[in-house]
């Protein structure tokens, strides 16, 4: 049995309560959502927060709904809810495709959107999805609420724009009528972290790509995205040649590091290969195929 170092624990009943508890317990306190990243690190004593502020009872952080032309996902929405959400399935199949390959049902029943975004693991799938869809994060602190583009949300591995005393409360995704989306991932085994993943959305209108987003994870893509590849595609017909050229730009923009999941050249290749596969499917889907 692995045992964490001693810590205090408090259960928050509202966002305001959570912020007050964070303030009370000081800088070494951490919020806990699903706990599937934080608890293992604590049990290995790689993380040793003084206190955990539990967000699991906060109703206002739950739910998936449409507000105007955005889909709003509460920070405490579980992976399993994303997977089964009719709203997300209707607008962005990328969510279901990604969630099917995130960990396993037990983890998905507990792990949350907010927890995944804030953990900022360089191989996180939802970070790639969020960057692909160009969503925004809603962050609340004592001073009020602010929004940050998901493409600016991550400062680097395990670092985000959420400051001490703040909580991520929502993630918002713009609705794009006619968009096709897809997610492609290579893992060594079901439930493993990505060796590499690519998630994209494409809007094809009048025979050309009018909007698109490319998200990548585990391959050292800056902010989990490939803007140069997106720019290349805009205004071009979604031909195999153009999609491949965009995928090539995306692959070249990555900076993967070798680890036991694979060597860097392989991961760079996957960034290309998986982006191409995702673009093909998303473009077909946008064209009603």
């Amino acid at each position: 049995m692995q045992t964490p170092a001693p810590f205090d624990y408090a259960k928050a009943t509202s966002v305001a309560d959570a912020l007050a508890l964070l303030d009370k317990h000081g800088e070494e306190a951490r919020v806990i959502a699903g706990g599937h990243s934080l608890l293992p690190m604590m049990k290995l004593r790689l993380a040793r927060p003084d206190a955990l502020i539990d967000l699991n009872d906060i109703a206002e952080l739950r739910g998936i709904r449409i507000e105007g032309n955005e889909i709003v996902v509460g920070a405490m929405v579980r992976h399993a809810e994303i997977l089964s959400s009719a709203i997300l399935a209707e607008h962005y199949p990328i969510f279901r495709e990604a969630e099917h390959m995130i960990a396993d049902p037990i983890v998905r029943n507990r792990g949350t959107v907010g927890g995944s975004m804030c953990q900022a693991d360089p191989a996180a799938d939802l970070s790639a999805v969020g960057s692909a869809l160009k969503g925004t994060a809603v962050i609340q602190g004592a001073a009020g609420t602010r929004t940050v583009a998901l493409r600016d949300f991550h400062e680097g591995p395990y670092e985000t724009k959420v400051q001490a005393g703040e909580i991520l409360t929502q993630v918002r995704y713009p609705i794009r009528p006619g968009a096709g989306s897809a997610y492609e991932k290579v893992e060594r085994r079901a439930g493993d972290w990505a060796v590499a993943s690519s998630g994209v959305f494409v809007v094809v209108s009048g025979g050309v790509v009018t909007d698109c987003g490319i998200g990548l994870t585990a391959v050292g893509a800056d902010h989990y995205c490939a803007p140069a590849a997106e720019e290349f595609l805009i205004g071009k017909a979604p031909t195999e040649e153009n999609l491949a050229a965009a995928a090539k730009i995306a692959g070249d923009s990555c900076n993967p590091v070798a680890d036991q999941r694979g060597p860097a050249d392989y991961k760079a290749h996957l960034a290309y290969e998986l982006t191409l596969r995702a673009l093909r499917r998303a473009a077909r889907s946008s064209q009603g195929a």
């Binding site: 049995m1 692995q2 439930g191 070798a258 999941r261």
Partner: protein, 797 residues
């Protein structure tokens, strides 16, 4: 009666004898009522934790335990220095080497035991570990086995007087001159470097112990995760000088072993010392990372394999040079006369006259071990070597791999067959088994489909493995562990009401012994299996024997159980004759009953006989009362199960991903006592094979850091990677086993990796690939396709 006959059913619906029945033990397991070592809680029990080395190789300059000792709730901190005072800093391994219990001079692998804290709770013990200040002087580590013998390589075992290199032993088998001559005369020679990388058995339950040395009686009761309780008892007596009659080893429910729970680990010894020092029971249970990083790994064989044949594909000879990485201490567990285990059974299932192997074992700065993970004493490595090289030969000859195997398989009339390396295979009809597998697979159709797919640029592969194992160690004359002969006792007591208890030395880790052994007794005596209690795992209450590993339970203790049943049956005959007032010669046995020949209405059931045996019936002279018996079974030979496995995969060359589409396993393990248990064991072993072939490896970086120390890094397969297994069987009984049974617990683990790897290589052979090392992760497959394979046992660069 043979195994193929239907056994009659008991009132509870179980077969009286052999056949399918639910496992008796599953009732408690499914209800969460198992009793594992960590479930043992004794009054006043203390908890413990081990401080482990962060370095692979470093000199210990100093250890300061004062802050840890000062932590409230800490009872004692034991270091190597403490143990040295008791003469226990080092302990013998099962291979006549020594291993540090707690390091004194140096640490020799990452995760090695350095200090032991005893405290009120495991939390406090872990807190105290952080307060122990160890000053290390880091040394360069020997990580690559291929460089272990380089001049100037750091000397790992400078504790051994006069040791000037990292060499452990050289060992050879077969006939070198004959083999060289066969190679010189051959039309075709194929050679390949084949690595069987370091993997880990990873039982669900990690290792642990609860030691209670009673300060008044001087009796040590040790609850411990052991596959071999009796062997452990004797070893503790020999190592610690404890009187053996005052040692009781209890192995309660064991959550998987796979050879991981054969060695004696420093943690066990520390818990004993802890109990002696504190006068209280001390529990030690390692966590997952500790299990992965410090306990017995498996394999780590670097094999250079060569095969010689005629141009028509008749195999003439095989030779193998092995570089064996044993880690920092030679801690492998196998019969003394076989330092490389049974690796020299590598000649496999084929008929050829010449073979030779040389095994060179070296120390490296890695955890000790090597024989584990259902390997049947290194037959896993042997089967992988021969089955991989046969496929390489098929590729070289441009011959179908099934055709090449069929051309060379041993023929039924050759049994008993003496192999070129000296094994005597007991029985087999190999071609029959292979044909059954090919029929289930639809082999010709698969090859046709493959050709069609290739034309379309799709990469499907078909891989075959035909394996032969030798299991059931062993004949006592040839096989011992630390001088303990590998024979097993068995006691049977039939109570007055006809219910029975059978006592065994082997210890189930999930194999279903409580069911299988009841069925064996049931088969011999006609007592329903639900009326037979199997008692095991407690050395005070069971006869001596060497334990469960190497698929030896059924071949050895299973034979003992059958024979003790027959002994009771013979005694029952004498008692029945007395009761029926006739001569024993006039009696005939039918299942569960002796009756008078020619008058079947006059007879006594085994239950009636049991009561009479304990009652007032006048017994013939020389017949003692009661209905009990004991035997010790010394097997005349190993049993030789075999099988043919066929795997079908689809490979995505763009990503290197492998999908195992089908897996056909046809096993011949002789008589099947409970076919459902056999199938369950095969299922588990096939999943092991998927793991080893596709994802499992413990690699190390250049500093000797273990890169497989958690289940995030060391991947075990899930149901998602496993296809619906397609099983078949043939039954060729062992001629020398009382019920014709052979061991089967390890067959699928031994046989399956080669089938999977052969299938993957077959799939990507159009890219010019002839071999790639396990594990065939997507990255490794893609790199192989690129012609730039990676070294899978080292950090990926």
């Amino acid at each position: 009666m043979t195994a193929l006959d239907e056994a009659p059913l008991s009132a509870a619906g179980n077969p009286i004898g052999f056949g399918r029945m639910h496992r008796k033990e599953d009732v408690r397991f499914l209800r969460g009522e198992g009793n594992y070592v960590d479930d043992v809680n004794l009054p006043g029990m203390l908890h413990s934790a081990i401080l482990r080395s962060p370095y692979a190789h470093a000199r210990i300059v100093s250890i300061d335990t004062s802050a840890a000792l000062a932590l409230p709730g800490v009872h004692a901190v034991i270091t190597g220095e403490t143990l040295a005072g008791l003469g226990l800093a080092w302990m013998p391994t099962l291979s006549y080497d020594t291993q540090a219990v707690l390091a004194t001079d140096k640490v020799r692998f990452q995760g090695q035991e350095v200090a032991f804290v005893i405290a009120d709770s495991r939390y406090i013990a872990k807190d105290a570990l952080e307060l122990i200040d160890v000053e290390y002087d880091a040394l360069p580590a020997v990580v690559d086995a291929k460089k272990a013998l380089d001049p100037g390589a750091p000397i790992i075992r400078d504790d051994k007087e006069g040791k000037t290199d990292n060499h452990i032993y050289d060992w050879e088998a077969g006939n070198k001159a004959d083999t060289d001559a066969a190679f010189a005369a051959a039309d075709v020679v194929v050679t390949e470097d084949i690595l069987y990388p370091r993997v880990h058995p990873s039982p669900m339950e990690t290792c642990g112990s609860v030691a209670h040395m009673d300060p008044v009686t001087g009796k040590l009761v040790l609850y411990t995760t052991t596959q071999a309780p009796h062997a452990h008892r004797t070893v503790y007596a020999l190592v610690a000088g404890l009187p053996e009659h005052k040692i009781q080893v209890i192995s309660p429910d064991i959550g998987g072993g796979f050879g991981n729970k054969v060695p004696i680990y420093p943690g066990y010894v520390c818990s004993i010392v802890g109990s002696i020092v504190t006068g209280k029971p001390v529990k030690w249970v390692e966590d997952r990372a500790e299990n992965l990083m410090s306990t017995g790994f498996a394999r780590d064989y670097h094999m250079n394999v060569s095969i010689a044949s005629t141009k028509e594909g008749k195999i003439l000879a095989v030779k193998v040079d092995v570089l064996a990485d044993h880690g920092a201490f030679n801690g492998v567990a196998q019969p003394t006369n076989y330092p490389a285990g049974f690796f020299h059974i590598f000649t496999g299932s084929y008929d050829y006259p010449a073979a030779y192997c040389n095994v060179k074992a070296v120390y490296t700065n890695k955890a000790p071990g090597g024989v584990a993970y259902a390997c049947s004493f290194r037959i896993t490595e042997a089967v992988y070597a021969i089955e991989r090289i046969v496929d390489c030969l098929a590729a070289e000859l441009k011959m179908d791999s099934a055709e090449l195997r069929l051309k060379n398989l041993l023929r039924p009339e050759q049994f008993p067959y003496t192999s070129p390396t000296g094994w005597e295979y007991d029985s087999g009809d190999y071609e029959k088994t292979m044909r059954v597998a090919m029929d289930i697979a639809g082999y010709d159709e698969l090859r046709r489909e493959q050709a069609e797919k290739r034309a379309k640029g799709e990469y499907m592969g078909i891989g075959i493995s035909f394996f032969t194992e030798g299991v059931g160690a062993g004949p006592r004359k040839h096989m011992d562990i630390l001088g303990l002969g590998m024979a097993d006792g068995c006691d049977l007591r039939v109570h007055p009401t006809g219910k029975a208890q059978v006592r065994l030395s082997v210890q189930s880790q999930g194999q279903g012994h409580e069911t299988t052994f009841a069925q064996i007794i049931s088969h011999e005596l006609g007592i329903p299996p639900e009326d037979i209690e199997v008692i095991h795992g407690d050395t005070d209450n069971t006869p001596f024997g060497l334990g469960t590993y190497g698929s030896r339970s059924t071949p050895v203790s299973g034979a003992a159980a059958a024979l003790v049943g027959r002994k009771v049956r013979d005694k029952a005959r004498l008692i029945a004759a007395a009761a029926l007032e006739c001569s024993p010669d006039d009696l005939e046995w039918e299942l569960g009953r002796w009756f008078v020949k020619g008058d079947p209405t006059r007879g006594k059931t085994i239950q009636e006989i049991a009561f009479a045996a304990h009652g007032s019936l006048e017994l013939p002279e020389g017949v003692e009362g009661h209905l009990d018996a004991q035997v010790v079974y010394n097997p005349p030979n190993l049993t030789y199960p075999y099988g043919c496995y066929i795997c079908v995969v689809d490979v995505d060359p763009g990503t290197g991903q492998v999908k195992v589409r089908r897996f056909i396993a046809v096993d011949d393990c002789g008589t099947r006592i409970n076919p459902m248990i056999v199938e369950g064991q095969v299922h588990g072993g096939l999943a092991d094979g998927i793991g080893m072939a596709l994802m499992e490896v413990i690699a190390f970086d250049e500093d000797g850091n273990n890169l497989g120390g958690s289940f995030m890094d060391y991947l075990l397969p899930t149901s998602m990677e496993c296809p619906d297994w397609e099983l078949g069987e043939t039954v060729t009984p062992s001629p020398h086993h009382p019920i014709g049974a052979k061991g089967v617990g390890e067959s699928a683990t031994v046989g399956s990796p080669a089938a999977i790897v052969n299938a993957v290589i077959d799939a990507i052979s159009p890219f010019g690939v002839r071999h790639a090392d396990m594990p065939l992760t997507p990255a490794n497959v893609w790199r192989a396709i690129q012609g730039r394979p990676v070294r899978t046992d080292m950090a990926v660069e």
